[in-house]
Amino acid sequence: MTKDNHGKAYKFGMVIDLDKCTGCGSCMVACMSENNVPFKENETDKKDSLTWMTVYKLTNGKPFPDTDICYMPRPCMHCGGKGDHGHSPCVSVCPATATDYGYDTGIVSQIYTRCFGCRYCMVSCPYHARYFNWWDPKWPPGMEEYLSPDVSPRMRGVVEKCTFCYHRYQEARDRAYYEKRDTIAEDEYQTACTQACPAGAITFGDLNNPDHEVYKLVKPDPHNCGRPRDPKAFRVLERLQTNPKVYYISEREWVRKAGDNYRKGEWDKKNMLTKADGQH
């Protein structure tokens, strides 16, 4: 089987600077309106809300005056799986092949017409990035006119998730074909959340391309499944070897430590190693 379908392979990824994020939620709003994400009449019960992008609040758990808060936006991580071979947790469990790994983009797809709603992928996703449609979408009168024709709406009984605004990639590629180009430029394909963030905390681009901002920010190690070489950058639950394509940056040590579960003493050992690496 040919793994990549057309020409050069991209590896689209996102870097989120947690020190810049103010937790305003613009990314969540932009995502919902861009991707026709349905909402309930009463959204007070968040248990079954659909939020492709969601902002978590982390605290360092210390009393005043040492209290510190960090907001963490969480889209789909588009995991490369163990060894970065495309065996993402959700892809490897889907019995319907309703979700697959795009070897040409590194994006994990979700095909709503193929999904039959077993929710196995939701169980396997360690980031809770997948959501189930408990009801058919119900738009307030007139709002259907606002739906994007580039994103197909979902029905009751299927799972959905962030697609890194894949339709924007499709459009960028169409333009590239029209202008007879092989590659698309960095600014031609940006996700809605990236563009909506007023603090400029989200950066999006090709992790394979050293000219792209995402690459410069985290310096992914190609020989180590894209593990960030920048000491301030980290990926959530790195030890699971899911190899997510969403990176986080923070100057604050407790924030970086919150990105994974560390055994007693493990963090200090790891931290000393990275500090030593930085000195070389």
């Binding site: 979700t99 580039d150 169409d174």
Partner: protein, 224 residues
Amino acid sequence: MNELKRKTENGSVEAEAEAVSSEQKAGEDSGLGLGVLFFIGAFAVCFLSGWLLFPSLLYSKKEQPLNFNHALHVDEMGGCDSCHYFRDDGSFAGIPTTESCMECHESQLGDTEDEAIFMKEYVEKGKEVPWLIYSEQPDCVFFSHAAHVIAAGMDCVSCHGHIGTSEKLRPYEENRLTGYSRDIWGKNIWGIKKNPWDRMKMDDCADCHERETGSKGACFQCHK
């Protein structure tokens, strides 16, 4: 013990019944022949109604709002792309809007009845013609004309057939259950496909992609 007894008794009863039925067999032979005949007849009726009647029940035939002569327009305008063109962002314009028709048809050019309808109903009222699109794919499909026509250099006929030389628009057949055009599912109830444009299901896309590019591609290549 009782159970065993009952079983043996029953067994002997069955054996007796068998003996009786073999005696009667000779007399029932003509009845069996009739039964076979009835079965074949009923099978034929069901089979034919399934294959011939059901498709016409499944699809409703709708007429286009007015007849469009493709052959005439191709003669006047040149290739397909004079009306079905790409926009500057690489997206495909598809069926022209009334506005783009009006670039030529500001006033009536010919003397056909269809053009008169078009002028009266749509140009003067400034309305779009509600064309029924034969090749409209389901909502979950992303089809890039740019990838096929510009990048792969395919011509329109490869997928759309010889619509450019047709003088009449055929009736649009809509699946009563799904609402999709019959061109997607295919004309032939036996599933026989002679031309690429006879059917446009996902497997047909995948077959061609497998043949031409060596891979069916990832889901998101054609889905949205």
